[in-house]
Amino acid sequence: MRSPRLAAARRALLRTLPVFAGYLGLGFGFGVILRTRGYPVWLAPVMACTMYAGSMQYVAVDLLSGGVSLLTAAVTTLMVNARHLFYGVSMIGQYKGAGWRKPYLMFALTDETYSLLCGDQTAGPARHDYYFFVSLFDQCYWILGCTLGAAVGGVLPFPTKGIDFVLTALFVTIVVDQWRANRNHLPVLIGAAAAALSLLIFGSDNMLIPAMLLIAVVLTLLRKKEVPADG
């Protein structure tokens, strides 16, 4: 019983090494931003443990320091993390029968963990141990990166003005990745246009919810146009 579990852990450790580098870097950036906005170091591991979401944690720093309403926070999380619904859908079969591990497997299903585990062909009863360790190690890297960033963020030896651009840069790289992976550029343009319009009308403090409503409406209308009504 002990040895297969250990083997699963060792395999998970090797498989997650690329995520180690990525999460350490991205988590570090999050920690630095959180600290330079005046939050204490311990809030970084608290957020990394409870939310455990890459881009959403970046957005969350902004929501926290803006002191937005709980409704705005809920709707924003719903939209930013909506893609996780689809990760879950494709992992239903693989996670079936995972027992006590399942609540954690569902919780820890981030972009990177999903990309490592989706379509994994591991067979046998040890596969859920393997999934569990991959999920656990990835989150450990994330917590480590976030905490280190927050620790270092308070003692940076240079002026930090402009360091918030990390946030913008992260989303620009995601848009570039998406732009190259997908031929249909209309959705990203709709998102940007809706946000710009909402910013002009409602101002920078209240733009999020109107922008997301507008996106939902336009995307829904577009689908009706795509699918012709046939009796």
């Binding site: 809030l43 409870t50 926290l64 913008t168 998102g191």
Partner: protein, 109 residues
Amino acid sequence: MVNTHTFLLIAVIAAVTYLLRSLPFLVFPGGRTPAFVDYLGKVLPYAIMGMLVVYCLKDTAVLSWPYGIPELLACIVVVLLHVWRKNTLLSIGVGTACYMVLVQLVFKT
């Protein structure tokens, strides 16, 4: 800085995130999703990222000095570097460093 509202916000964001990650396992145990949900999965993530870029730039002053030039230049650096090297951490690191140099040394306000 940290108050009750901070913890409430963190709790709400964490709860909604967990809800989204676990919902499919409860609602679609057969692994089949309605067509409209499939459609949203194909378009929503892209639209939201487009929105977030604009959201990040929401406090940029475009009508007064420096007219958003540092943001524009730094974004161009991130896009070009990312198209060229496809390395997320490199693009973010260099882009942010460029922006910091621009606002601290070049376009002083």
